[in-house]
Symmetry: C2
Subunit: 358 residues, 2 copies
């Protein structure tokens, strides 16, 4: 069992049966327990959970529909109604069993119900383990705007059990790898190399690598929980990534990690364009990322819409589009104010690149 020093909650990595999860449940022995799941975790993870921990045998199970389009206020509303029907009180406990969608949304639902219920995250996806479940960001989308509505709110504990990774479809695994690659890009060339190695051997997951990736996220959010400064570095690839994910939500449904990977290529291109990243390094990044995460087809209309969406990114300030830029691998800066026009040119570059490739 590996213990990670989070601010005000438990963060443990290893087999759930060996963690302090069971003990924690005993503290809530007279409370009602609610487990929030999705289709995948309902089938693959829930049976293990309720048969292993007696305290959960009478838990109520709430099923959230899969898909980014269901990460909405409307669905949260229905869950709040269900919690009211189950007569859930402030002293009860919510357990979020799933990927980033479940932990983001379940955290938001718990944080707003009766002004805040205790909740535990049991991330089951790679993305959830290395990113979404850590750092207290919760939220839902507003139309195509990703996580537009949410709060900062920490769970009482996060238990990360890599056993759940075996239940993941391949595209989910790659979605998580993208956030891991981001941890490498922003902090360490060496970490990046180790992640690329891991991606070649998906059967055997290195606990040490997981631990190091979780540590990157945990350290950054500990120093800046409300994203006033340093935490913004974690948004590398996300300014464009969010827009890609939102724009294609109704059609291609590009996963979060895949969208971020595309965002990282494009923001690396931006970094080169404004004279920060050198041309060879950029080419290396483009080669690495586009070989794993293909670009969607860009159209003039789409580019215009995406550029308009950028203006409404949460990270913007006073009308400028703020963006992370790379100086080199392992050296990233945040709060770079970039003109709308440069983004438009970047999108056009990638559109032309596709045309030339075909």
């Amino acid at each position: 069992m590996k213990y990670i020093d989070a601010v005000d909650y438990k963060l443990e990595l290893g087999r759930l049966e060996s963690s302090s999860f069971g003990q924690l449940l005993e503290r809530y022995s007279s409370s009602q327990k609610i487990i929030i799941v999705d289709e995948n975790t309902h089938e693959n993870c829930l049976p293990f959970l309720i048969t292993t921990f007696d305290e959960l045998s009478k838990a109520e199970v709430i099923f959230l529909p899969a898909g980014e389009e269901n990460k909405s206020i409307e669905i949260a509303f229905h869950v709040w109604e269900a919690l009211t029907e189950y007569q859930i009180s402030r002293s009860d406990l919510i357990i979020n069993l799933g990927g980033g969608l479940i932990t983001d949304m379940g955290g938001f639902i718990a944080s707003c119900y009766k002004r805040g219920l205790d909740f535990i995250h049991l991330p089951t996806s790679l993305l959830g383990m290395v990113d979404a479940s850590i750092g207290g960001k919760t939220g839902v989308n507003l139309g195509h705007f990703k996580n537009q509505i949410g709060v900062f709110s920490n769970p009482i504990a996060v238990f990360i059990d890599p056993v759940f990774l075996s239940t993941l479809p391949e595209n989910e695994l790659y979605s998580g790898f993208a956030e891991m690659l981001k941890h490498g890009f922003i902090t360490s060339d060496n970490l990046l190399v180790r992640i690329i190695e891991q991606m070649k051997n998906k059967e055997e997951f290195s606990i040490d690598l997981l631990f190091d990736c979780i540590q990157v996220k945990n350290e950054v959010v500990k120093n800046d929980p409300f994203e006033k400064g340093e935490r913004k570095i974690l948004n590398f690839g996300h300014t464009i990534g969010h827009v890609i994910e939102g724009y294609f939500m109704d059609s291609l449904q590009i996963s979060h990690g895949h969208s971020v990977a595309i965002g990282m290529v494009m923001e690396s291109f931006l970094s080169m364009k404004v004279g920060k990243l050198n041309r060879d390094k950029y080419a290396e990044i483009e080669e690495l990322l586009t070989s794993i995460y293909p670009l969607p087809k860009l159209t003039d209309v789409g580019i215009q819409k995406m550029t308009a969406m950028l203006i409404n990114d949460k990270k913007n300030k006073e009308g400028k589009i703020l963006c992370c830029l790379l100086n080199e691998i392992g050296d990233c800066t945040y709060d770079n104010a970039i003109e709308e026009k440069i983004f438009l040119e970047t999108f056009m570059h990638f559109k032309n690149l596709q045309i030339n490739m075909n």
Copy 2:
């Protein structure tokens, strides 16, 4: 100008022009400002505000429909959409100009939009000034369940200008007086007497009395911001009051303060019934409150529904109904676990009382 020592925000009582409101606005000179109003404050308070403070001349105004039934997630959703359309970013500022509905709901809207925008409360109702705007509770109703969805979140400042009281209709004033009376009931017989005196002279408002009532609320919430213990004392009259307000929402629309006053009579009766409050003191409280705040007509069906609603009060724990009880005026306890049956009997007592009076 009177300054009140709140935890992490400014709390000032006196003329807005003499307060630090103007200076604070200057700090946001490059931010967009949004003023949230209702029908009453749009007509009576907004013109003064935007003509007095130049910084607000270009503010966007968002109009919330009046009425407890509009304190809903659906309306919050529409405001979030409007903020998105106005391209409001995390560094912008929301100003809530209105009574408890506006500050509760505006605070919630601001706290969840992009995971939290700065907001200022300018309470314009008596209830808002002595209660709702202080202490960081924000929220909206879920159907008939009052403030079922919300978060604890403090504004950056609250400015209380009694000049706005002159714009209030009489029933709104009495709604505020009820919460002031509650401050008397739970802390001091002497304060209660002063409030009763003030109620006889509504033309001239005592700033000292306002200050003392604000202090009661402020001190309690400072010691226990998240209502883990002591703060629960402020719920005197609210266990039953919330149910009265919720149950009659679609018909009589009893104001929050009026509902709380009825709740205080009934919870005083409960206090007597379980042997805490003596009979004469109870009779005095009943006489005082029912002469100002008449009881609605209770029916058997209504009583059954209200008893069922009590089970879902936010303050409950492990299936028991938790309630404040009075030992005497100025001496109140919280977390008293009361059986459902006792509430039912209390409602029946008041139903029979009405029948005997007619």
